[in-house]
Amino acid sequence: MKVLESLEIVEILGTRMYRCSECQVVLCPASEDYKEYALKREVRTTKLEPDSLAFPTDAFVLREYFCPKCAVMFEVDMTEVKEKQIFSISLK
């Protein structure tokens, strides 16, 4: 079952697991936060602005979560620097 463009839940040996749908690497049981098992990188929000008119900020960052094997992006969270990791998906 697909839960994001490049992340799916599959049953492996009776346990539901998160798996990258691009390279099929298995991340973790579906009961956990897949972000704990993804690679994370924080970048400045001005990464998005090719021109020089954007207002710079140190208060917010982009948190990128990608596959540890093929590097496909699972999610990008725009958060305050001090914000905890957002547990965005929890399926029963």
Binding site: V3, T45, L48, E49, F66, V72, V76
Partner: protein, 615 residues
Amino acid sequence: MERKMDSVTFEVLMHRLESILGEGYYTIGRVSGSAVVYEAGDHQEAILTRDGELAGFGGGVLHWTPVMSQAVKHLIEVYGFDEIYEGDYFLQNDPYVGCLHAMDIQILHPIFYEGELVAWSATASHQSDTGGIDPGGFCIRATERFHEGFQSPGIKFIEKGKRRKDIEELFRNAVRTPDISVLDINAKIASCNVMEERLIEIIKSYGVDLVLMLFDQAINYSEQRVRTKLSEIPDGTWKAINYVEGITMPYFRVECTLIKEKDTLTFDFTGTSPQSPGSENLTAAGGMGSAVDPFFPMFCHDIPWNSGIFRPLKFILPEGSIVNATFPAAVSCNTPSGAAYITTATAQNALSKMLLSSEKYRLEACGNIMTATQFPVISGLNKEGAFYATLIMDGLAGGSGALPDRDGDNTGANMWSAKVMISNIETNELHFPILYILRKEFPDSGGPGKFRGGLSQVICFTPWKTDEIVNVHQGSGQEPRNSLGISGGYPAASSRVIKVKNSRIFEKMKEGNPPRSWEEIGGEQEAFAKGLSIFKIKPEEILCYSCGGGGGYGDPLNRELDLVLRDVINKDVSVKGAEQDYGVIIDPDKLEVNYKKTDTVRQEMRKERLTQGRR
């Protein structure tokens, strides 16, 4: 046993109901003299049952819809059925009863047939002033509701068919723009009348019992459809967090957790920032309206819109937070810089995550639709020397969010109304002392992704035949990129607000060389980064601003090369943006993709992710 009509009659009558709402929508536009109403469409219409349940509502401003039901129920509670008469028209604009802020004035009209109350017609529209401490209704200095001008929990503007002169005079005396404001009320009365007439026609054709049965059946049908669709989605919890600049505080945070269990859905805003000491707050009515807003177009686009939709839903709005401020908190600036749009956007993001988990409904998910907005509220004296105040609503045309199978629309829409539009430039120039320099799509403003968010626009105007314009400028998204992407897509670019001095604009025009882009405006540029700024614009100075694009969907490194090339050819994405956001190298002269370099750059970008990423 529930009474039901046959499905053919039901279908015919449902279409009649829809056409009544459509006629109500166009009627208000034809009578109003306010461009915010007749061009931008900042209004909403509804038919309600005798008890205040929504039997149907239009595609206007969606967050006003559940509050209309609350407002009618309040009238019934206060007046009782024995003091609600045929020919009554109630004026209601109390945010603690049922609206977002006092500018959203409703007319609520009981419909009688053969002496019996059978239904209500209701309209609401944004009005130009409420007589608060700041002109234009957005009272940025307000710290309590008593600073926000005229607010009525429901008075009879017309009683038993007779216009209340005392009430009209009271209202005229309370606002800065009496003539246009009363005309807007008349427009709403006209709209209510048309809807009433058409409903009575149906009653005469089909009988009152059948029409009352229609209301019940429609509401039950919609409830059942929502429950069925919810049942088809896996149970789970989805969370979204987003931010907006405040007036009194640097930022506010909205947290929305969606909990789906069987055929019910809970919107839980626990964790949201405490209420503001300023006017960015929502009351409980506004909080619920803003939260449910995206649910209509995203989940219920194929379901009749009425009160049945709300029955499977639950809202947890913590008291004392910015989504449920306690009396007498001020609320007038809850849109666009305050809590309303960010609440809608956060709920939309969580809803998209939920839909992505459903094989059947995943294509309904999308990135945020122009959360970052910019709205100048300009006032002053026009060329005739008369006072004016208006909201310039061009910011409504932001970018739509990208979907799992396609790009978002450029300057397409917003999430809180299916029908609003932006005014013609010429209309704004006719009514207000401004001259447009630019209004065009803004390259690179859509959120990058496998599918790109729609572009926003850049808008620039200068005073024309006036000594100065006072601009109470509200907006969001200059710092937090709050038009969020989904599923690996990035947020849209920031919005911007800039005042330009020494632009030489009229010289450039005389030379036949007007600026054709933001970069060509030149002059001395002063940026405003707060949620709200007040400044004057003098002749030859220019106000430039851009709004939010749509959030992207999916990994931008997976975007097809031909789509990136198309974007560059169409000037939706710059050559620099193609490389920076998508890893695609395009020859700027030949407008061709360099496949070899692109392959190398994309591989390097993926390698960087793996080397820079941490667990």
